[in-house]
Point group: D2
């Protein structure tokens, strides 16, 4: 018998393995995964040229369009990696010396800066304070001053849970920028996203976020307009040059085996199942569900007397809630709440380091998950000595739900 570590779940002791098996993962991705999605990956003999794989990839491509509310004029891409590789692949649309504007509300907005730093492009930047987003006014002003080939937005800033008003921003700047890119990593599948209607050129996300599949794939849809800029003589590297992936996407969509570099076959099967479930639920229902759970969680946070990181209510997101702590340390809360059967994410915004935690609520979350999260958080904070009202959080969540 191997040694077991025992955990206090409230005042009783549970073996770590049991706590972990039943653990609710309220994280920012990977999230709790629907079992049917996991089981879809149990394939022990599918080659990358097999009919099974080609079929799964083909249907995933079609479903990706639905997910982003794009239409046939958009080219979908499913490439290895995740959010960051999908972001970097937009270099496929750029040439040496191109002008780029980055609108950043936090760590993942800043990531665009870090990417472009490695390439021969001219980058400008608009930054918001932690918990806030860059105002539309200042964006409009900036794009009027200089002609940018490409602008990047972050729909929901995963580091703070702040949602940027994409639709409104795009409306204001559409005429001034050639390629509008939106990082929808923490929004697609949980927030309203309408690539076509909003006239976004490149919308991207990753498999492990609100779609609820395992990590390993980046997803993009690219408008006809942007596709005209996809040329061989770009600044991209090799693996992330979408020119290399385009024939694969086109061949697969026609049901033909195609190869550039081996795709994560099993992850594709899981993604395909997740996308099927998204479609079965209906994207509007899915968004409403996320909204409800997010509301229930914020009600609980406020009920116990704590504040969220996002400053403006209109910027509350459906997927991530940052929770400001009063007296206790973030790392202690994270370590202790696992022992209550819930796993949360650390806060990562440099200016709030150690002062907040993040609750991810995306993928397959239900109201019951909100109840468990708030209940476990209350018990944990209480045990650590935080200044909260025990029982009031869970009661507020319950009231919100009924």
């Amino acid at each position: 018998m191997k040694d077991r570590i025992f955990y206090p779940l409230s005042s009783i002791l549970l073996p770590m393995d049991l706590v972990k098996n039943k653990k609710l993962l309220m994280h920012v991705g990977p999230v709790d995964i629907y079992e049917e999605v996991l089981y879809a990956g149990l394939k022990n003999n599918v080659g990358f040229t097999s009919e099974e794989f080609v079929n799964a990839f083909q249907s995933s491509l079609k479903r990706v369009r639905y997910l982003f509310q794009a239409d046939q004029t958009y080219q979908p891409f499913i490439i290895p990696g995740g959010g960051t590789s999908a972001m970097e692949s937009v270099t496929s649309f750029l040439s040496r010396g191109d002008k780029v504007l980055v609108v950043t509300n936090g760590v993942f907005g800043d990531r665009w800066l870090n990417i472009f730093k490695k390439y021969p492009v001219e980058v400008d930047c608009l930054k918001a304070d932690a918990g806030d987003y860059v105002g539309i006014e200042s964006i409009r002003e900036k794009v009027k001053q200089k002609h940018y080939k490409l602008i990047t937005f972050t729909h929901v800033e995963t580091s703070t849970g702040v949602r940027h008003p994409i639709k409104e921003s795009v409306e204001e700047i559409r005429d001034y920028v050639d390629i509008i890119v939106v990082d929808g990593v923490s929004s697609v599948g949980a927030e309203e996203v309408k690539a076509k209607d909003w006239n976004v050129d490149i919308y991207l996300t990753a498999s492990q976020k609100a779609i609820g599949a395992p990590p390993g794939l980046g997803l993009l849809v690219v408008s006809e307009n942007a596709m005209k800029n996809l040329k061989g003589e770009n600044i991209a590297g090799y693996y992330l040059d979408l020119n290399n992936w385009l024939p694969v996407m086109r061949g697969m969509e026609e049901g033909k085996s195609a190869y550039f570099s081996t795709l994560p076959v099993h992850t594709v099967f899981m993604l395909n199942e997740a996308l099927k479930l998204v479609q079965d639920e209906g994207i509007e229902n899915r968004i409403k569900r996320h909204e409800k759970v997010a509301g229930a969680i914020r009600a609980g946070i406020e009920g116990m007397g704590l504040n969220v990181v996002a400053k403006k209510p209109e910027a509350y997101s459906n997927t991530v809630t940052g929770v400001m702590l009063k007296k206790v340390k973030a790392q202690d809360v994270l370590a202790e709440i696992v022992k209550e059967g819930v796993e949360l994410a650390p806060g990562v915004h440099p200016s709030l380091q150690g002062k907040y935690i993040r609750i991810g609520h995306m993928g397959w979350v239900t109201p019951n998950d909100a109840v468990v999260t708030i209940s476990a958080l209350e018990r944990t904070l209480k045990r650590l000595g935080e200044d909260i009202k025990i029982g009031e959080g869970v009661k507020a969540t319950q009231s919100y739900l009924s």
Copy 2:
């Protein structure tokens, strides 16, 4: 795309499949199953004579002794079926005309009567009212009046959640009865059970209850004393005659392949994993955990203003709680609470038909499961118009836990 039925989870709509996938099963067995247990059954090429199977069966037998707190003087049996087949297999110890006393506190106590009715034995019976148990006094009196070959008890009566004081009862009657049998179907793995110390001859249970494995197997431990009565010329049928299974148990325990009738090989692998986890947790810890969760659930029930079926607090069980309803119908509650992501069990005691529901809390239950159950029950009862105080149940549960 197949048609989806949508469910109201509180006021939002979720596809039935999603609700079901995340559904918490607070039932009387099978219960929510630990994933490692399920995965242990994923064997696609193990024959009943294979080394893998013999090894798993061998270790299961040893672990069964620990589970019942029996020692080497007890013979363990793992036979196909479940609680009922295990119960009926005690006919292997009886001869035509033997005298049997059945102590029954409800439906599953009565099951002993139904079994013995099919056999040529003389049966007497002591019955309790619904929610109560037969007093020790009357049992002692009865066994003093007549010499019984065998007496049966039901440790926890699954139909009402009433626990019988086994230890105390056995102490009183040990000298008067040859074979003392305890149906531990809803107790073993969750209540204190000490086959050896309490001097019980035959203690039995089923795989799908507090051990938390799938249904398909009955488990028994039999004392040396009772084994002397295991003879060929008994009244048992063929499949449930333990004489046929004994060589299999003995062979397997020595690590040799042995055959009488094909055992449910995959279920044995799962049982073995579950028993391993029971041992890892430690039986005392496991009992405490069940006690805590049971307490949290009863706190919630009382918090929202409802009563439990068991009349006396000392008879509250760690595994099953019957909940009396005031105005609403049991079947409506069961149908509706599934839509809130929790599945409960119907009340089955004939004298309370339709007036109560049962919450099963056994196997791998945690405090968070208690919170979700009470929270979902509150929302469901409220929606159906039951006379309860919303938010008070979940708050009481939370207070109990912290």
Copy 3:
């Protein structure tokens, strides 16, 4: 790192775990299980009253009729246990003193005798030598001499692989016996079986044989004629009295939750998936496939210069082939061939003890499985010093297949 035992697979050494993971199970049940069947059992929260379970049971019942080629006039039963419990459940149709005739071609025909020995019925018996079957003439003669309430046949005698001519036998005796029972344990799903057309009253099998699901369930179809004999005052015990199961079967077929004793819920999900695959393949195709594989295996056996146990070619079965050994011991062959990645079954007929092995070829077997089996058997027998022609077996199998 745990200790690994290494196995010689031909002249190289492989870790036991690897050999076992890739092991081909050519056994008599459980057999190699189609993965989708196993995965269908991965349900961690389905209660026995859940909609998911009721749906699965309902469709299984319907599929059982198709499997046996029975129609709506037949009542299907799915009960816990397996072949033996299904056999014993026919006591539900018998009364004290009834006359029964058992036609036995080996160990599993004799099992009927062992069962009836425990019940108050009058049993006669017709026995065949090992490798042979009881001639129709002698059966007809017997039933004309005495009026039997019930007669039992074994379609394929699993101990020797001998197939009995059921259709022809039933034709001859239909008018003389009330209830004709056929044990189709090693035939249903792989041999021609037509319950209705052949006018068989009770045809039964087990989940783990040619249907290719895990063990744990016995399946029966019962004719209208026989159902008239299903009364409460039978000689059956309690658990295997079909009177107790009938309301469950009827309720479930109407889509209503029904309970007598907890069914092995997970095994039912797996059975249901297996039955779906049987239907998808088409029972005629399935029989042809078994025939082909059986032929390829016998070709290989004869190619290497060995004989099969079944004496008459018309009695060769599609599911089990007994292989007579010349010099080597059966137990050595079985122990050694596992190390070549194939698991076979021991011979169990008492009069041929230790002199033969059995190859099971049922469920999801393919021609490639025949090739592997013959190839591994050749290598094993050669290594052990058996008098065979190496390479000739596998060549004969290959010729048979192309």
Copy 4:
């Protein structure tokens, strides 16, 4: 019931799903995956900061060193993607204008050229004919003429199955080149690989090849010498800049959660299990096993009268065998052999297009897999009218094995 496509498996018809479920995948990666490896990925609630994940990543890093026979002086990297992303990540060691020599024996050698074409380096190249490898003499000559910062080799050229003599080549050039890189994608885990002893700076592979895990990860070990060249101001992009991954590898190896970009968490769990099994088998045993299976396959190919693509016997690889066809078309063979239950890979070398097929034999292959492959290939080729001797291939394989 959904429509089923039926396949001829020899002369019988099997439903496509059944053929596929039992299909043997003799491909170049992903290959047949050991079930325990797949099951290791069944984790539905592990976040990238979870203890479970950190532990798995930590042990994978350590096991990667063993796999490559590197020691503590080598830094292991496990990065998203696969072979190509691992190859491109070596740009992290290069500066603008560096001189690079590519030694290419086929398509995957040429891939290095395609990668470097996108970067500001000066590239020279030595090319071999299809089926051959570049001679050591010409390499030595080249590196003596010009000082190269980096040279790349392909250990086994996946497109032709040709093995390059790495040890001997490195010995000759070690003194002349700064960084020696070996693409071990189709060798690591199946061929002798000794990063340390052979003094290779960067050895890389992918998860889905001879390690037998699913695709999604690239693995590298980097020598101390090469690590000195890992600086921020390199020519690499962002996602594949090993500078960004280095703190993650270091943190994780110390057991601390670390983040750069979300890793494919589930694939890591599967990789870790595969690496554990590699270690359990022992790398020397694993190589011998691959050698044996490769030999058995080539014996079968030659037995039926066909030739392999690799021209020189010393260049035969343990992992991939190209098979030259005489009359039939490669695409027909591939399409038809699936119907016999085996999936092979297309030939992709441009100069032999359509004239050959590839058999992948890596990961968990056994001698029985060789038998099935040769047997199915014979039947397929015969059916298509290829000029082969039926039964001779499988006989030769069998003789080779015994």
